[in-house]
């Protein structure tokens, strides 16, 4: 115990903190989802501070491109699972902490099975499907959520869904952004890049909020979102209010949650959509149906090829006509056709469906129309 007193001495001596806060930390159970740029500093500071029980979930292995910001990992770790190395390194820092790991990307089932074992959930993921999944699960299971996200030189931090009284909670992510953007609308770190120190800043701010939540000190980042810009060292706060739209999108029951397809909502590239080159398409053209999902006014039309014209916004109500057919979706550039293919697959998960790469633009370029 003396050893522990010494380990935490610098925070124990704070009047606002003391032994009581330290005991709260050591009894706390925190689940950190994502062990990347945000997860690394969050985990290091929570372990150093003496948070007693920590869960870590991540399905990824270390790559060289992680090393500019994911500071639990070194070059010798490339190719190994992040959660395994994280646990090893964190236990070297503080072996009094109980650490549980999951080598997977958290699904609805995992939230249902494991959120109940934790007091606080930390979103340190890198994609919208996970962010909306985690937010909805926190609302459904009544867990406070410490949120962080980065984009190039900027980051966002907020604490969502904290109980105010028996009935009310502070706002959640859906109050701010009721529906997810399409995945091709917002680029992630691997597509847009990120300054290595930035997730460090944001992760440390998240860890700070976790410690405040557990110990009850200070004023939480609730009902507001803090934005940080590394280029001009400026913080900007936006004060949030409940959004009447939000509750329309949050699953109302565990069952509804289980059946919400978050990857699809966020337009994840699935493995069974095949982006087909024009040459390949010409070969299978006879045996497939070409569906043009552009608006009727978009030119040039595909009159030369037999096809159906179903603009993307109306596709949902016309899906019945297309069932059980092998389909090639086409649009102007190949983006909407990919969305159409995803929509089709959400109804017919085992269908063979193609999206014509490059779309009509490519056909024009190759003088095929």
């Amino acid at each position: 115990m003396k050893h522990l007193q010494e380990r935490y001495q610098r925070q124990l001596m704070l009047n606002e903190f003391g032994l009581e806060a330290q005991e709260k930390l050591s009894n706390a159970k925190v689940l950190v989802i994502g062990a990347g740029g945000l997860g690394c500093p969050i985990l290091q500071y929570l372990v150093a501070a003496g948070v007693g029980h920590i869960g870590i979930a991540d399905d990824d292995v270390v790559s060289y491109s992680n090393l500019n910001r994911q500071i639990l990992f070194g070059q010798q770790d490339v190719g190994r699972f992040k959660v395994a190395i994280a646990k090893e390194k964190l236990l070297l820092m503080n072996d009094t902490i109980d650490i549980k790991t999951w080598k997977l990307r958290f699904s609805q089932k995992d939230c249902i099975n494991h959120f109940k074992d934790y007091d606080i959930i930390v979103d340190a993921t890198d994609n919208f499907a996970s962010r909306y999944l985690i937010n909805d699960a926190c609302v459904l299971f009544g867990k406070p959520l410490v949120f962080g996200a980065v984009s190039k030189f900027e980051g966002q931090v907020a604490v969502f869904n904290v109980p105010i009284n028996e009935k009310e909670k502070t706002v959640n992510y859906r109050d701010l952004f009721p529906v997810p953007p399409n995945n091709n609308e917002v680029l992630n770190c691997s597509e847009a890049g990120v300054l290595g120190v930035l997730p460090g800043m944001i992760g440390v701010l998240q860890a700070t909020e976790v410690i405040k939540l557990i110990t009850g000190i200070g004023k939480l980042l609730t009902n507001r979102i803090l934005t940080y810009n590394a280029l001009n060292q400026e913080f900007f706060t936006i004060y949030l209010t409940p959004n009447p739209e939000a509750s329309n999108y949050i699953p109302a029951s565990v069952e509804a949650f289980e059946y919400t397809d978050y990857e699809w909502l966020c337009n994840y590239s699935p493995t069974n959509v095949i982006e087909i080159e024009t040459e390949q398409w010409l070969k299978i053209r006879e045996n497939t149906i070409l569906v043009d999902v552009r608006e009727l006014i978009e030119k040039p039309r595909l009159d030369f090829y037999s096809h159906l014209s179903i603009p993307l916004p109306t596709l949902n109500s016309n899906l019945d006509d297309l069932l059980d057919k092998e389909i090639v979706f086409v649009c102007q550039s190949g983006k909407r056709s990919l969305k159409a293919a995803l929509l089709y697959l959400s109804v017919m998960p085992n269908a063979k469906v193609y999206s014509l790469k490059g779309g009509v633009n490519e056909l024009v370029k190759k003088k095929l129309i």
Binding site: G34, G37, L38, D126, P181, E185, V186, P199, N229, T241
Partner: protein
């Protein structure tokens, strides 16, 4: 009379800068319309709007010398 419009995250890739000072506009809906006319590529993106740091979900009137923020969601981690 002017108002200040602030852009965050990847919105600045489209607007080219994080701050724009424009002539007074009376409501948030009208401001949004003007901004989208100026930067049509923004119309395919999602963002929240805050007037003087307070998030708004409905159309509200804008006071003079206000600062209006356009905040998109970030996904990286």
């Amino acid at each position: 009379m002017k108002i200040e419009v602030l852009f965050f995250g990847q919105l600045t890739d489209i607007t080219g800068s994080s701050k724009l000072v424009i002539d007074y506009v009376d409501t948030t809906d009208n401001l949004k319309k003007i901004i989208l006319e100026k930067f049509p590529a923004l119309s395919s993106l999602k963002f929240a709007i805050a007037v003087n740091k307070q998030m708004v979900t409905d159309n509200i009137s804008i006071e003079k010398n206000s600062s209006i923020a356009f905040m998109p969601p970030f996904s990286g981690g």
